[in-house]
Structure formats: structure tokens, C-alpha cells
């Protein structure tokens, strides 16, 4: 508590702390890069600009060059676009569908709940990388296919999480009051339950985003993700793995990028601003 007391400040009726602010700045920076990458990259991602491969950091090539002598800075900046973009799209689909289905199952109950739960349990039992492998083998690797695959893999988790939360809320008296009032299921879900599970759901959203970034990177590392010359961060690590013996920045930089994003999201979730309940202050 002493640490929290030292670094806690308040703003707009919320308490926040320094770690959370730093983490959100890192996330904001990556988001801006993802949006504006095409306009800020110094070289095109396909251009071979260095005479040597695995070149060191130097003026002009700030992050060195990769295994073909392409500019690493440009490739990492563009990689942000794919990693953040694909992961965000996938996590939105996964969490939205999972949470909606979860709340629906909790409110409806009965056989519908059982069927949905068992079906998604079955989905959950498929190893995620293997599932990705099969999908890529069947339909080939494209960005929409990747997004959908990642989303489908993470729906069962989001569903279980939301259902567990909603089941607890569903037993509260205010839900009974709303039911006896004659409210529809949609109202119960959207107006009575969702606001009460929003915080944990947002935290879960962040966590799941991290999982997806890591899975996407893993898939790309295995060569199942984006296809060259496009590359997300995972693919960048993989294609430059040969630079490891030369201590090339080309391997370490995308790894650091992945780490900085995932760790920041985690830290932000743990340090979300808290609303101050003491109104007299």
C-alpha cells in the first residue's frame, strides 16, 4: 500500500498511478505508429537499401538492416500495423461474441445454456496452433482468414469468463426485480448485467489481446501468418533468426516491440484508473 500511496494521483474524479500512465503512453504510441506507419517509414518495406545483410544500427538505418539488407525501422513500424491491427480486430470479434453469448446463456439458462456451453467447451479443447495450422492449410493465409481464425480460437475463453461473471450477477435481487417487471432478455443483458461486469470484461479484453498478439506472432514465426514481403513482428523475428549469431539488431528489435506492447497492456489492466467514491473530498 505504501507504494500505491506514493505514486497515486487523482484527476477528473479518478485515482491513477504512474505505471498505468506510462503503459498507456506506450500503447498510444504503438497505436499512432500503426495508423500512420505508411507515411512515416523512411524506406519502402520491400526495398533493399543496405549492401550488407544484418547490418548494425547506424545513421540512416537506425535499427540496422534485415537478412536481405532491407531497412529494419521501416519493417518494424509497418509490422506494428499488422500486429496491432489484426490482433485488435480479432480480439474485438472474440470478446464481443463471447461476452454476448456468455451473458445470453447466463440469463436464459436451461438447455440453451447447456448446449452452448458444451459446444464452446468442445471448441476450447482444440489446440490453438493446430487449429490455425489446419485453417491455413485449408483456406490459405490471408488477413481476413487470420483475423477470423484468431477470433474463433478465443471466443470460448471470453464466453466462459463472461458467463461466469453474469451467472453471479443473475442471482442478484435487482435482476429478479427486472424480470418480475417483465423486462426482455435484451434489456437484462444490456442494461442490468453488462454495466456490472464491464470492468472485468475490459480487463479480460486486454489480456486476450495480449494472448492474440502472442499467438499471431507464434503463427507468423511458424510461417503460417502473414506472407512475405508483408511481415508482422512475429514474422520479423522468424525471418531474421539467422542473425542471432551475429548479434544483429534485426532479431532483438521486433522481440522488444512484442514485449513492450504486451507488457504495457498487462500493466495498464493492472493499473486502470479507479473512481473515487468519497464525494465530500
Amino acid at each position: 500500500m505504501a507504494r500505491a500511496g506514493a505514486s497515486r494521483r487523482s484527476f477528473l474524479g479518478h485515482n491513477y498511478n504512474l505505471v498505468g500512465v506510462v503503459a498507456s503512453l506506450v500503447i498510444l504510441a504503438w497505436t499512432l505508429i500503426a495508423i500512420f506507419a505508411p507515411t512515416i517509414i523512411p524506406h519502402s518495406i520491400g526495398d533493399i537499401v543496405d549492401d550488407d545483410y544484418f547490418g548494425p544500427m547506424r545513421q540512416g538505418l537506425w535499427l540496422g538492416s534485415d537478412y536481405l539488407g532491407r531497412d529494419m525501422l521501416s519493417r518494424v513500424l509497418m509490422g506494428a500495423r499488422y500486429t496491432v491491427g489484426i490482433s485488435l480486430a480479432a480480439v474485438c470479434i472474440a470478446c464481443f461474441s463471447g461476452v454476448m453469448l456468455g451473458m445470453f446463456a447466463a440469463v436464459t439458462g436451461g438447455w440453451l445454456d447447456s448446449c452452448l456451453s458444451r459446444f464452446l467447451d468442445a471448441m476450447n479443447s482444440i489446440p490453438s496452433k493446430l487449429f490455425g495450422l489446419v485453417v491455413v492449410a485449408a483456406v490459405g493465409s490471408s488477413i481476413p482468414a487470420l483475423i477470423l481464425t484468431l477470433a474463433v480460437i478465443y471466443i470460448p475463453g471470453a464466453y466462459r469468463f463472461a458467463r461466469a461473471l453474469a451467472v453471479n450477477i443473475n442471482t442478484m435481487d435487482f435482476i429478479t426485480v427486472a424480470r418480475v417487471r417483465g423486462e426482455s432478455t435484451a434489456y437484462l443483458i444490456g442494461s442490468e448485467i453488462l454495466p456490472n461486469i464491464m470492468r472485468p470484461v475490459l480487463a479480460d479484453f486486454g489480456l486476450r489481446f495480449v494472448f492474440i498478439v502472442l499467438l499471431l506472432s507464434g503463427l507468423s514465426f511458424l510461417g503460417l501468418g502473414l506472407q512475405p514481403p508483408l511481415a508482422d513482428w512475429g514474422a520479423l523475428v522468424r525471418e531474421n533468426i539467422g542473425g542471432l549469431p551475429f548479434a544483429a539488431p534485426a532479431v532483438i528489435i521486433p522481440s522488444l516491440a512484442i514485449a513492450s506492447l504486451t507488457i504495457s497492456v498487462n500493466l495498464l489492466i493492472d493499473n486502470l484508473p479507479r473512481k473515487i467514491r468519497d464525494r465530500d473530498a
Binding site: 487523482s10 485515482n15 442478484m172 435481487d173 435487482f174 429478479t176 426485480v177 427486472a178 424480470r179 418480475v180 417487471r181 417483465g182 423486462e183 442490468e192 454495466p195 456490472n196 464491464m198 479507479r274 473515487i276 467514491r277 468519497d278 464525494r279 465530500d280 473530498a281
Partner: protein
């Protein structure tokens, strides 16, 4: 040092999440002599539990003792180190919590937990501790003193668990016992056994005690002196007899007045209310699998019939587990009945709420016991009250806003509260909001399920007064479910006594003094009176107790 406990000018502060420091105990001084039982009484938030805990040198998280002395047995608890305090806790000072059920570890036997204190402090070998525990069980008149220790906490009743918690506290031979509302969660019939047991062990051992409660009648039975608290300050101190007969401070008088609500005036429109508003015939409902005859395995409500007339109130009284709350849920359609008819305003109602029409739902509202769970914590009060207005009456935003103001006025809440969330309201305020939401529907009948039992005496009395006034103004009918006889007496025209899912008898408050059924007799005779000699003088028919009491 003449007294066992001498508290001088105690100050305790708390820090809110905005960093603001609030003084919750503002210079309290009190003395407890050897073998004396002192009651701390006051409404919730008056600091009575905080003071009781501070006698062990303990301040709850976020609070700290900032000034004053707490001398217990010659040691200043406020100045001792945590290690030194830990040595005294359990041996010199012991604590009996409010909810014994939540304070026992469900995964180990009662005996293990009762003798844990002797193990921690190395007081006596385990074998001797077990013998001592059995003696205590006997002294606390627990059934099967030899065998009860081998059971797990969920295998004994609430009243027994509360006495076992006392045994746990007594095993270290404390000089001071702290009781934190130990009987608040118990039925009146059980409460008597627990109080009697406490009183006899305390007297036999010459142990001093602090008894925290908001129930003046209970306190009158057990305490030698009473300290009345409000807002973290001592309002009045005196012997029990003096406080009860000649209270000086206005708050104490208010407390006394609240305990004895004015009996309800004779019904002015007695003949006008000849038409029944709600009639239920032979309703049966329960839980568990449905058997061949279409009735559930466990019948919580067994062939109950009742009639509520327009503009009149029906009280349903009984101990916990008698099926009174299930009956309320059956009438409201939350828990559909397995058999029987519900006729409301001349029309037969579907058993399940989902099949009733919107108007039928609107005309019968239910208000739950715990306003904490009955109000959505994520919504401001305004949204909570205006939802029935939008849903049933389809009012537009402006009309809703106006009506919310009116409803807040009706339940005597300041209009500014509409922007707050339920967590920012006190218990009594929340219950009023809960009630305002029911009123927003414009109902004919309101089912009140124990709506005052989570509230303090003074606040509960105010809520009851409000209900009476609203009835006069709006012509409502109430079904008032409670285990507290005085509450039901204050507001109801007729009282139905339930026991074990069945209707035992129906009486009117005038005839209250002479209930005919043996269970009603037991129930009514178990309600504590303000008279301090009541408990000692109470003679209960042992046959009745063994038949209906929960040992």
C-alpha cells in the same frame, strides 16, 4: 487502576480513497469494572464496533488509532507492539463475531477450531483443552456436548454455532469478552437460548464483557450498564435501569421510542375494504424434483390460503425457514407455485410472472429485504427509479425526470440524491429508493419481504411510518413479511403466523396478547421486552420449546 478497562479520550481516524482523513471516533472515554457487562448501543456507523475492536488494539484496514489510551488490565493496547497485542488476544481479551457462520472454517472440525487458541498460546495440552471445551459446551447448554466438537460447522444450527463461537472465546479464560452483535442474525426463539447461555457463563466466570448491539431490548437483558453512541461520540452512559426508565439524551429517547412503535389506529375504512384484492387458495410450492403427484419433493409452502383486502395490510410472521419468503416469491410469480390458485383483483393470475400481463405485473410490486442487492450498483438512482416509469407508463424523458423528483419527495429523500449511485447511500436511504421504485409502477399491492430487518431500530421505525403515510395517501395494500413481531404489529391489520411451510393461525393485533396456537404462543413470548428482568423471569413451556424450538 481500579477498573479492568479504562478508555480515555480515544480517537480513531480513517483515510478515504480521495486521501481525506475522517475522524470516526471523536474522543470516547469509558470504564468497565471487573465482571461488568457494558453494552455499546447505537445505529450503524456510530462507531460501536470500531470501539469494541480497539479494545484489542485492533483498527480495521484504512483506520488507525490516533490518540488516547486504551488500558485493558493495566496495559495500554494503543501503545503496545503488534506482537505484544497478539499475546493478549485470545487470552486476556476474546472476541465473539456477529456472524459465527462466516467466522468458522468450513473445512475443519469445530473442536479443532475451539481449542486452536490454547495451541497458539501454548496454554494447555490438547487433551486438557478438549476436556475444557466439553465443559464449556455443557455450560453453554449445547446439545450433545461430548460429540458436537467432532462435527463440522455446517452440521450445526446458527444458534449453536454462535454459542460455539463463545466457547472458542472462553477457552483462553479471558478477563474481557467482546460480543459484536452476536444475536442479530438469529430468530427470536433461538436468540433466547443464546442470550441465556451467554449470561450464565459470564456470570459464573465473573468475566467482564462488551456487548455491541443496536437492539435495546436484547441489551436490557444482558448488560449492567449501557453506553449510547452516535457519530463516534458518547451520548449517554448509565445503568441499564436508568437508561431504560429515565433517558436524558434525545437520541436515547428516540431509540426507546422507536422500539415501541405506536399501535396502528383503528381502520377508518374498515367496511369499505370488504372486497378482496388478493386471494390465494391452497397454494403449494417448493424445491427439488417433482414427484408423481405433481408436487415438489421439499414443500416450502404447503397448502396456504390467504386474503388481502383492499387498503388493508396482511402481516406474515415466522422464523427463518418457515416459508414466508417463498410465499412472497410465489405470489409475485418469481417462484411458480406447484398447485393452488392466485386471484388478484378479481382475475386469476398465471403462476409464473413471465406469463402474466404487463398490467398485472405493474399492479403487484415486490420490495426485497436487502436494498444492497435489489438496486443495480452500476446505475444512478435516477435511472433505477425512472425505469418502471418508462417501461409501464411510457413517459418521455422530461415527464420521467419530474416524476422521479416527486417520488423522491414522497419517500422523503433529497432530490440531489438522484445523481448518486446506490453505494453512496446509507442503508435506510437505499431501502427508500427500493420502495420508490415499487411506487413508480403505481401498484395496488406491495409485497414487502423483510424490508426493515437489515435496518437499525430508529431507521426501521421511520420507514414503517413512511409506509403508513403512503398507505393513507395512495390507498395501497401491503403484504408485510417479517420475523419481527413489533414491526408487523405496527402496520398490519391482520397477522398470519407461519411455521414449517404451513399457516398456523391468523390473528388481529388486538387479540395479539392471546394467541391460541402453541407455536404462536412460543413465538410471541420469545420477543424480548425492554424490562431487564424479562429474560430471568421468562418461563417457557419445555414441551413447546422441544416441539418447535431449534435447540
Amino acid at each position: 487502576m481500579t477498573n479492568l478497562v479504562e478508555v480515555r479520550n480515544l480517537r480513531i481516524e480513517a483515510t478515504t480513497d480521495a486521501g481525506r482523513v475522517v475522524e470516526i471516533i471523536k474522543g470516547v472515554s469509558l470504564d468497565i469494572a471487573d465482571g461488568e457487562i457494558v453494552a455499546l448501543i447505537g445505529e450503524s456507523g456510530s462507531g460501536k464496533t470500531t470501539i469494541a475492536l480497539s479494545l484489542m488494539g485492533y483498527a480495521r484496514p484504512g483506520c488507525r488509532i490516533t490518540g488516547g489510551e486504551i488500558n485493558v488490565n493495566g496495559k495500554n493496547m494503543a501503545a503496545l507492539s503488534e506482537k505484544q497485542r497478539a499475546k493478549l488476544r485470545g487470552t486476556d481479551i476474546a472476541y465473539v463475531p456477529q456472524s459465527a457462520a462466516a467466522s468458522f472454517n468450513p473445512s475443519s472440525t469445530i473442536m479443532e477450531q475451539v481449542i486452536e487458541v490454547t495451541r497458539i498460546h501454548g496454554l494447555m495440552p490438547p487433551e486438557q483443552a478438549r476436556q475444557r471445551a466439553v465443559e464449556l459446551f455443557r455450560a453453554l447448554s449445547l446439545p450433545d456436548p461430548e460429540g458436537i466438537g467432532a462435527r463440522y460447522p455446517h452440521q450445526v444450527s446458527g444458534g449453536q454455532l454462535q454459542r460455539l463461537a463463545a466457547a472458542m472465546a472462553l477457552i483462553g479464560d479471558p478477563k474481557l469478552m467482546i460480543f459484536d452483535e452476536p444475536t442479530t442474525a438469529l430468530d427470536v426463539t433461538t436468540q433466547i437460548d443464546v442470550l441465556k447461555a451467554f449470561k450464565s457463563v459470564m456470570r459464573a466466570g465473573g468475566i467482564a464483557g462488551v456487548y455491541v448491539s443496536h437492539d435495546l431490548a436484547v441489551v436490557a437483558q444482558i448488560a449492567d450498564r449501557i453506553v449510547v453512541l452516535k457519530g463516534g461520540e458518547v451520548q449517554e452512559t448509565g445503568t441499564t435501569a436508568a437508561i431504560l426508565s429515565a433517558a436524558q439524551h434525545p437520541y436515547t429517547r428516540e431509540l426507546l421510542a422507536a422500539f415501541e412503535p405506536k399501535p396502528r389506529q383503528a381502520q377508518a375504512d374498515a367496511d369499505a375494504g370488504a372486497k378482496p384484492l388478493l386471494r390465494i387458495d391452497n397454494v403449494t410450492a417448493g424445491y427439488g424434483s417433482v414427484r408423481a403427484d405433481g408436487l415438489p419433493l421439499i414443500r416450502a409452502v404447503d397448502s396456504v390460503s390467504l386474503i388481502v383486502e383492499k387498503g388493508r395490510n396482511l402481516g406474515i410472521i415466522g422464523e427463518s425457514g418457515c416459508g414466508k419468503s417463498t410465499l412472497a416469491r410465489v405470489i409475485a410469480g418469481i417462484h411458480p407455485a406447484a398447485a393452488g390458485d392466485i386471484i388478484f383483483d378479481g382475475k386469476e393470475l398465471e403462476r409464473a410472472a413471465g406469463k402474466r400481463s404487463r398490467d398485472q405485473l405493474r399492479e403487484m410490486q415486490i420490495v426485497f429485504q436487502y436494498a444492497d442487492t435489489a438496486l443495480n450498483p452500476a446505475k444512478p438512482i435516477e435511472d433505477i427509479i425512472s425505469r418502471p416509469l418508462a417501461f409501464y407508463h411510457r413517459l418521455d424523458r422530461q415527464a420521467r425526470s419530474k416524476r422521479v423528483d416527486e417520488l423522491l419527495d414522497v419517500v422523503r429523500l433529497p432530490r440531489g440524491l438522484r445523481y448518486r449511485h446506490p453505494s453512496e447511500l446509507s442503508g435506510g436511504q437505499k431501502q427508500r429508493v427500493n420502495f420508490a421504485r415499487a411506487l413508480a409502477a403505481d401498484p395496488k399491492l406491495i409485497i414487502c419481504d423483510e424490508i426493515t430487518s437489515a435496518l437499525d431500530t430508529v431507521v426501521a421505525a421511520a420507514v414503517i411510518e413512511l409506509l403508513k403515510e403512503l398507505q393513507r395517501e395512495l390507498g395501497l395494500s401491503y403484504i408485510f413479511i417479517s420475523h419481527d413481531l413489533s414491526v408487523v404489529e405496527a402496520i398490519c391489520d391482520e397477522i398470519m403466523v407461519m411455521y414449517n411451510g404451513q399457516r398456523v393461525e391468523q390473528i388481529t393485533p388486538d387479540k395479539l396478547q392471546a394467541p391460541t396456537h402453541p407455536y404462536s404462543k412460543l413465538l410471541f413470548s420469545s420477543v424480548p421486552k425492554l424490562d431487564p428482568t424479562w429474560l430471568d423471569g421468562l418461563v417457557r413451556d419445555p414441551e413447546l420449546v422441544s416441539q418447535y424450538g431449534h435447540r
